[in-house]
C-alpha cells in the first residue's frame, strides 16, 4: 500500500500540471478567437478573389501568362505549413504523415524539393531524403506579411523560369474547432475555377487585359499563401485549445481517483489506530 505522503505529493504535482494546461488553454482560446476573427472577416475576400481571377483569366486567356502554363510534373516544389510548438494533439503529426506520404508518392516520377514553415516540419523532414529549399522555424509565427510575400515571389520566380513544374501546399485548414482539415492544394500552375456566369459580352479593360492579368495573378498567389498561413494558425490554436481542454479534464479525473485512494488509506489507518486503542483499553479493564 502506498504511503499517504506519496499520494499527497502526486496529487499536488497533478494539480500543478492541471494549472499549466488550464492556463495554456486560456491562452490558446484568446489567440484562437483573434485568428478566427481574422479568418471570418476575410472570408468575403477569399470568396470573391478566385471568382474575379477566374473571370479575368476567362476573358484574357488568349493573352496567356507564364503562371498559367501547365507542364509535365518533373520537378515538384512542396510547401508544408506546421506550427512551431507542440502540445496541440495530433495537429502536426497527422499533417506531417500525410505530407510525407503525398511527396513520397510524387517522388516516384518527379524530384521533390520542399519549403518548410514551422519548427515541427523542419525537424520532421530533417531525416527525409527530400531537398529543402527554404525553411522557416522558430520565428514562423511572426513570419510577417512581407516574409510571406517574399516566399510567394520566390516560388513564382522558380516557376516562371521553369525551375519547377508545380507547387503543392500541404497545410491544416480551419474547418471547425473539433477537427482541422488537412488540405493538399496545387498552388501553381494556377487553375482558375470554371466561371459559372454565362456572360457573353466581352468586358472592357482598364488598363489592357494583358497588363491586368500580369498584376492580378502574382497578387493572387501572394494572397493564397497568406491565406494558407492564417488558416493554419487558426487551426493550430483550435487544436491546442482542444488538447489542453482534454488534458485539464484528464488531470481532474486523475486527481479524483488519487484522492479516493488517499482517503481510503487514511480511513484504514484511522480504523487501525482505533482498534489498537480499543484493545489496549480492553486489556487494561481486565486487570
Amino acid at each position: 500500500m502506498p504511503a499517504l505522503i506519496d499520494l499527497r505529493r502526486r496529487i499536488k504535482s497533478v494539480r500543478n500540471t492541471q494549472q499549466i494546461t488550464k492556463a495554456m488553454k486560456t491562452v490558446a482560446m484568446a489567440k484562437f478567437k483573434k485568428a478566427q476573427r481574422i479568418i471570418l472577416e476575410s472570408r468575403p475576400y477569399w470568396h470573391g478573389s478566385p471568382d474575379l481571377m477566374a473571370k479575368v483569366v476567362h476573358w484574357a486567356e488568349k493573352k496567356g501568362h507564364p503562371l498559367l502554363v501547365k507542364r509535365d510534373e518533373k520537378r515538384v516544389e512542396g510547401v508544408v505549413i506546421t506550427s512551431d510548438k507542440g502540445l496541440a494533439g495530433a495537429f502536426n503529426s497527422n499533417l506531417l504523415a500525410k505530407a510525407l506520404a503525398f511527396f513520397e508518392d510524387k517522388a516516384r516520377d518527379a524530384s521533390v524539393n520542399l519549403v518548410l514553415i514551422g519548427k515541427k516540419a523542419v525537424n520532421f523532414f530533417k531525416k527525409s531524403p527530400f531537398l529543402v529549399d527554404r525553411s522557416y522555424s522558430e520565428q514562423a509565427q511572426e513570419l510577417s506579411q512581407s516574409g510571406l510575400k517574399d516566399l510567394a515571389q520566390f516560388l513564382m520566380r522558380l516557376y516562371i523560369y521553369s525551375q519547377i513544374d508545380a507547387v503543392y501546399v500541404v497545410c491544416n485548414e480551419f474547418k471547425s474547432i473539433l477537427s482541422p482539415r488537412i488540405t493538399i492544394t496545387r498552388l501553381l500552375p494556377l487553375s482558375p475555377p470554371e466561371s459559372q456566369e454565362g456572360e457573353d459580352i466581352p468586358p472592357d479593360w482598364e488598363p489592357g487585359a494583358g497588363a491586368l492579368l500580369e498584376s492580378l495573378l502574382p497578387l493572387y498567389v501572394e494572397n493564397q499563401i497568406q491565406r494558407f498561413f492564417s488558416e493554419s494558425e487558426a487551426a493550430e490554436h483550435a487544436a491546442r485549445m482542444m488538447a489542453m481542454d482534454n488534458a485539464t479534464n484528464n488531470a481532474e479525473e486523475l486527481i479524483g481517483d488519487l484522492t479516493l485512494v488517499m482517503n481510503k488509506i487514511r480511513q484504514a489507518s484511522i480504523t487501525k489506530e482505533l482498534l489498537e486503542i480499543m484493545t489496549a483499553v480492553e486489556a487494561l479493564a481486565e486487570k
Binding site: I38, Y45, L52, E206, L216, Q226
Partner: protein
C-alpha cells in the same frame, strides 16, 4: 436594354481583413489608375485596376467614401465588386493598436 436598366448597384468592397462596404448605391466613383471613373447603374461589363484614392458612393441622398491603396474592381450592370489590398482605415487601426 433601356427597358430593364437596374435602378441601383450592389457595391461590395472587400479587403483580406474585412468586408468594408456592402450597400445598394445609386452611383459610385472609383479611383482608376488614370483618374476617377464614375459608375451608374447599367454600366458595361468592365474590369478595372484601381490606384490609390477614395471610393465614393451615393445612396438615398447620402454620400460616403472609403480610401483604398489600390486593388481591382469588377463592374457589372447591377453589381460592383472591389477587391482591395489595404485601406487607410486599416493602417490607422494598426498604428493605434
Amino acid at each position: 436594354m433601356t427597358d430593364n436598366l437596374p435602378s441601383s448597384i450592389r457595391l461590395r468592397v472587400v479587403s483580406p481583413r474585412k468586408l468594408l462596404v456592402d450597400e445598394e448605391v445609386q452611383e459610385v466613383s472609383l479611383p482608376s489608375l488614370e483618374g476617377y471613373v464614375g459608375i451608374l447603374p447599367g454600366h458595361r461589363f468592365l474590369f478595372l485596376a484601381l490606384g490609390k484614392g477614395k471610393i465614393t458612393y451615393r445612396m438615398a441622398g447620402r454620400e460616403e467614401g472609403v480610401s483604398v491603396q489600390g486593388g481591382y474592381a469588377e463592374v457589372l450592370p447591377d453589381k460592383v465588386l472591389v477587391l482591395t489590398e489595404s485601406t487607410e482605415d486599416e493602417t490607422q487601426q494598426s498604428a493605434e493598436g
